[in-house]
């Protein structure tokens, strides 16, 4: 069965390591914070200028001067630091963030990602996404494998305007965990109960299947 939002977050969380500085995008990526493995600590970077983002505040703790990149009120974790936007993106662009998790509309076999703009619809802007994909070595894209109508989002070539070129190496969809290299998708894992054939059918870009593909475990 396709992974739930929570399962997607859980599977991403398995990629965390103790001491990782992590930037989590809006949506499913945000949920990853709920599944940090026991005994492990990660520090969340919020690109509006906060390293060490804490949980949401209580009513009494709400502070208009303390928000995250999604403009939600938050708190600071112990050992947090505050900085301006240039410093925040120096951190991101300079490759100091250990893991970036973000959503996308499409990715392709060359590691291109489209995530910010659907022509003809209202264009809200890329926010920090272009900086995040260009700056991070270690990025996990989380997305549904295909649209509701069965149209694949893992493509030979992205059709939408790009957020970044050649920068994505790992994609976790509701059906599969996939690595991108050598201009191809490599199937690493499949969602529990999802067959390799189902994944092949919903993957438009070239998909390499080597040996037995294990099911994800949670």
């Amino acid at each position: 069965m396709a992974l739930s939002r929570e399962q997607l977050a859980q599977r991403v969380a398995q990629e965390l390591q103790d001491g990782y500085y992590v930037n989590l995008g809006i949506g499913i990526p945000t949920l990853v914070a709920n599944y940090v493995p026991e005994g492990m600590e990660v520090m969340l970077q919020s690109e509006n200028g906060l390293l060490g983002m804490g949980q949401f505040p209580s009513e009494a703790e709400i502070d208009a001067d303390l928000i995250n990149a999604g403009k939600q009120t938050v708190t600071m974790a112990t050992g947090a630091s505050i900085f301006d936007s240039a410093e925040s993106f120096a951190m991101i662009r300079g490759g100091h963030v250990d893991l970036t998790v973000l959503g996308a509309f499409e990715v392709d076999v060359n590691g291109n990602i489209a995530s910010y703009m659907i022509p003809g619809k209202l264009i809200k802007g890329m926010g920090g996404a272009m900086d995040l994909v260009a700056g991070a070595d270690n990025i996990i894209v989380t997305m549904t494998h295909a649209s509701k109508h069965g149209v694949s989002k893992l493509l030979s070539n992205c059709t939408l305007p790009l957020t970044g070129k050649g920068c994505i190496k790992k994609v976790l969809t509701d059906l599969a965990f996939i690595e991108i290299k050598n201009g191809k998708f490599y199937l690493l894992e499949r969602a529990p109960g999802v067959s390799v054939e189902e994944i092949i059918a919903l993957t438009e870009g070239e998909l390499v299947i080597e040996g037995e593909i294990p099911e994800m475990t949670f």
Partner: protein, 234 residues
Amino acid sequence: MAGFDKVVSSYEEAMAGLEDNMTVIAGGFGLCGIPENLISEIKRKGTKGLTLVSNNCGVDDFGLGILLPDRQIKKIIASYVGENAEFERQMMNGELEVELTPQGTLAEKMRAGGAGIPAFYTATGYGTPVAEGKEEREFDGRHYILEPAIKGDFAIVKAWKADRYGNLVFRKTARNFNPLAATAGKITVVEVEEIVEPGELDPDHIHTPGIYVNRLILGSFEKRIEQRTVRNDA
């Protein structure tokens, strides 16, 4: 102290000299740390044809959004917009020019403007619509694009505390683009919650040295919250 006393006593004085078709750089992220009263003064003045540089454009009735109904903004350079209906309408009708700029590039462009760096290379935006018309170049086998600096005729900034010399301290994530905007205005105007005497701020903890600040005004702030999120168990 006259020479370094930056304090002005009215918002009219704070924004004196702002004229039609000027470029204004504004601090703030969403509605957090925005110079709300300086924006209101621009609305009151009715200045038109402005090019605004700001990460966002406020909401319909707060922040930079209040400059939309009277068509005061000609162009906005921002990373994320459209949180307001009037913005969407003007953009769709071609009444408002929007130059989308990645958030980190926007911050760096302001810093470069203030720091005498006319242009810099960044990988951000390479191969995307942002790269159109820009020089591309390889360094060590990686692709980058050339981004020019931004400077403003005015910069409008919100800080927490200042001394009369214009030394500024920001509070929590209300810092965001404010220190960068402060460096990039020909005239930098700052509104703050508290003004203290020179010497009261620890020199090691001043975020923006007074050299960047031309005018300083004491304000009172609504500080509207865009996404009021609380935890359930609290």
